[in-house]
Symmetry: C2
């Protein structure tokens, strides 16, 4: 968490300049995960990428001969989670969110179809989870999608209490070279058990 | 192939209007695959998505209070293939290309890092392949990444001969409700053998 983050841009979709774009909130966690993914990729540990931000392109102009310039486009609500890939022959799929509240993670932070997506990939045999960064406590948690969905589908609450996160979440540590070594946590949570599913 | 394609837009990144954008070439195949993916998803057969087109956003404006408008952005060279997801607990990853030549598929149609990406996910245990639509013959082929790479890494040629594609490729048929039923081909190629890897 205390990793000296050098303003790394997302390799797939980088926002070079925006004016008070709220989508920049949570960029620190995104950058940390992208950095971990680059490390995993170049060391042949895993192949996991952030998906580019989905947009609807309305108009493209061609100011110079070989560079198309998008001049009108809009952000779209994503229909999947942001991250997926492969680790030890397993399909891995997750969403990552920063949580600024000290007491609970609001369900509103995750789009309904992202939750539906986690439910779907889980049924197909995925390793699926949510990474929640509790900003105030400076701790990242891996929350198994199974556990999250069990709570989510059986509550009238509109948020996941921090007490629940502490009990059922799996803290993610720093790696020697990376800010958030979530593959190590996957190893502990999914590969140390005799059989997970 | 003769499926009546109703101009379906890519659910992740749809180009509503462009002027002679060369990236629209190959949209027919993309639409067919997106349609198949929607069918697989809604019937709980597989969860496979096209990744949004990667772009670099340079400037965003806020004409109305709650809708950010991207006013300057550029297309980026993708660092992964376009499609990935999960089927029968296996990670699936592929690229799809239309080929207008009658004699060979030019290697230049696929970016070098996409080929590197296929090589990487294969090492991690993926089902990885390329779908090539031979436009003139109206046949789609599934080419296993293993087979493709073996040829690609051992030739001085700059294209994959059609004769090779016919010999090593696996033809993909139409489904009853979908234009390109590539999951059926995956079943034949990857799940009928005793052990594939």
């Amino acid at each position: 968490m205390k990793y000296p983050n050098g303003k790394r841009t997302n390799p797939q979709t980088s926002v070079v300049k925006t004016h008070h774009n709220t989508s920049r909130r949570g960029m620190k966690l995104e950058n940390d995960i992208n950095h971990a993914n680059e490390y995993y990729l170049s060391n042949n540990i895993a192949n996991i990428h952030k998906k580019p931000t989905p947009i609807t392109i309305v108009d493209v102009s061609y100011p110079s001969r070989n560079k198309a310039k998008i001049v009108e486009a809009y952000f779209k609500v994503p229909s999947t989670t942001d991250y997926n890939g492969i680790y030890k022959s397993r399909y891995v799929d997750f969403e990552a969110k920063e949580c600024r509240s000290k007491t609970a993670f609001p369900f509103g932070s995750i789009h309904a179809h992202q939750i539906k997506h986690l439910e779907s990939v889980l049924k197909h045999g995925a390793i699926a989870f949510i990474i929640i960064r509790m900003v105030h406590y400076e701790i990242d948690y891996l929350i198994k999608a199974e556990d999250f969905l069990l709570y989510y589908n059986n509550t009238d609450r509109r948020s996941l209490p921090y007490s629940w996160i502490k009990e059922y979440g799996h803290p993610i540590g720093n790696g020697y070279l990376i800010p958030i070594d979530y593959i190590k946590t996957i190893d502990e949570v999914y590969f140390k058990e005799v059989k997970n599913d």
